[in-house]
Subunit: 205 residues, 4 copies
Amino acid sequence: MSPAQKAQPESERGELRRQQVLDAATTCFRREGFHGSSIARISRAAGMSPGHLYHYFANKEAIVEAIAAREENDLAELVRQMEQDLEGGDLVRRLTRHVGEAVERNNDPDHVGLMLELAAEAARNSAVAQILRRSDRVIDARFVDMALRVGIPAGLDEAELRLRMTMIATLFNGLAMRSIIDPHRDHAATVRLAERMIRSLLEQP
Amino acid sequence: MSPAQKAQPESERGELRRQQVLDAATTCFRREGFHGSSIARISRAAGMSPGHLYHYFANKEAIVEAIAAREENDLAELVRQMEQDLEGGDLVRRLTRHVGEAVERNNDPDHVGLMLELAAEAARNSAVAQILRRSDRVIDARFVDMALRVGIPAGLDEAELRLRMTMIATLFNGLAMRSIIDPHRDHAATVRLAERMIRSLLEQP
Amino acid sequence: MSPAQKAQPESERGELRRQQVLDAATTCFRREGFHGSSIARISRAAGMSPGHLYHYFANKEAIVEAIAAREENDLAELVRQMEQDLEGGDLVRRLTRHVGEAVERNNDPDHVGLMLELAAEAARNSAVAQILRRSDRVIDARFVDMALRVGIPAGLDEAELRLRMTMIATLFNGLAMRSIIDPHRDHAATVRLAERMIRSLLEQP
Amino acid sequence: MSPAQKAQPESERGELRRQQVLDAATTCFRREGFHGSSIARISRAAGMSPGHLYHYFANKEAIVEAIAAREENDLAELVRQMEQDLEGGDLVRRLTRHVGEAVERNNDPDHVGLMLELAAEAARNSAVAQILRRSDRVIDARFVDMALRVGIPAGLDEAELRLRMTMIATLFNGLAMRSIIDPHRDHAATVRLAERMIRSLLEQP
DNA sequence: GATGAATGAGTTTTCATTCAT
DNA sequence: CATGAATGAAAACTCATTCAT
């Protein structure tokens, strides 16, 4: 309650608490799924009373939606890494440099679990589906932007690039799903073949 | 009403009722998810009392497991079609002939919804995960069998073939997931690029 | 279906099946209590279908009552042994000769469990209470008869003898209850003190 | 509304509500037994919703256990009376002065009903059995303490005293059970004979 | 006599949500 | 802002009982 703390805009502290809830809920959802995570548990994990949680979210559904909005598209991290990559090279070289990590991310049961949870929810809940769609479009645009900056393979126009990028995203989605069925897959072979498939998408017009 | 007549239909009728439950549950699960489908609803959809449903399944979990076991691997239909395909040609040609239909299947919200539901469940429920893993291994073996009969690309041994086939399965899994986010995707382009990716996996050693 | 079998009085075979149910129910009740034993389980234990069980008993309550009626008073076995005892001696000597066994019976968790189950039921269910009361009176009469034949302690009339005998029964009931709380009690000491208490009831007018 | 004022009543109120549940459950259990008393009924009797009852008890079993813990050993009241008895005299005289009341207590259907219910439960539920055992040991120790203070009969060591005290407890347990079968027994005669049995345990080494 | 499929009310328990403080 | 007591409508599951065969 120091003056400094009080001077902090109300909304800032509120936003912090809101994020606390989302972090707690994310952890719970990963471990137990949406339906396995009660408000009581989430609020306890967030260090707040169940009643107070409703100060920040209208209902449980709103938490799910907020998490869906916050949860990044699978390619987001890949794009970020490519954007920050100073080594250069053409698009394919830049991409393949980070495939290994992307494959690894899609083998992490925590990451994959929440993704599947969200996808399954989106299949039945159009509000969640729209949220995911929106964040997909955002990362899509960012990827294309970056590709245009770096230089896109000869013979591809922007529309075709967009299509091919979508297939890369599709491949990573698939890797996520398969990690459930085949959690001990051969990492090196997976990376090698994923790279090959990506190259096949970008190297020839 | 001879014993023979009576014995047969009795057990058959039980099996029929069991399948009735699974069909009803599948419908419910697609629409509402596992946790959104109450036993009351499922039993009503199956035309039976909730109590009686427990004659056929020990608990809700057992229904989920039975559905997981019944639900075919994504490649199963593809392999079946290739096996029945009389037009011949090498492995790649046979495969690509059916990619269009496979892409279409993975755009069907009903099919995809249940698949995601199962995958999300498997991420937290090892019993379901094992069931999916088992049926994956079965179709895997069948695919390899067929490929060996048809003739596998030069330079690939069986182990490498298996790895590549897994990537094809992965791709279809990815198509399923993306169909949620992007349900109106360009079918023709998707087929074209999927074929290209598959070819990249099988045409070069 | 041989003539001989058919000649058997219907009621005899029926009675046998009835007893089968009671035996099965007794076993179940001992292990799981009345409320823990479902008709399904009892009928399975009796080797008959649940539906058919209702051929012999109107409802579950009727089974409980039949078992209460069949279940002997705690003193019944003691009296039987005394009646068959050829060694002779006066009443006290005859009694004390069998106290050890009676104590042992009241330490058997199976015997005691059913007894308590019946007593607890009787406390809330007057039909069962009356049944227990009736069988108590029967054994009571038998004990007094035997005592009169053997010769009762000087100074006791029949009414007083009856009262004292009741206290002996009470003592055994108490031993049954305590065996739950103190299952590893010192058997020898228990017998010694029980004998002493019984002697105190019968040796002095 | 100072913190101190607020803190105290808060936790006290919770304890009060908890006791409300136990009181309500005790009443229900007496009348209908454990298994005949549904949570719905208990919560209604406690003036609270079924859901809220689970704020105070993890499950029905926990209520049973709490009642078992609260329910005093049969001798507890007797020992209390003897401790407060200012008239003095030796152990036997002190004891016999309160036998009448103890017999009466063991004729009260409410008291006896719950006791039998607990005993029957303990016969199949080791958690409950242990609780009863523990409270038995406590009162046991208190009885022996008191006896040592008052002076124990010549010729008895502490171990033997404990054994005999156990037989007194056994006798009262027996009186409880018999009160179900023979609710209209002759009170005076019962007291007279119970005293005699107790005296036989304590007057001669 | 005998079966076991079928019912539906009832059980314990959980949980999102509200509200007095 | 914050608590947590309180609700009541579900949920999964059980079971005595009935009845067509």
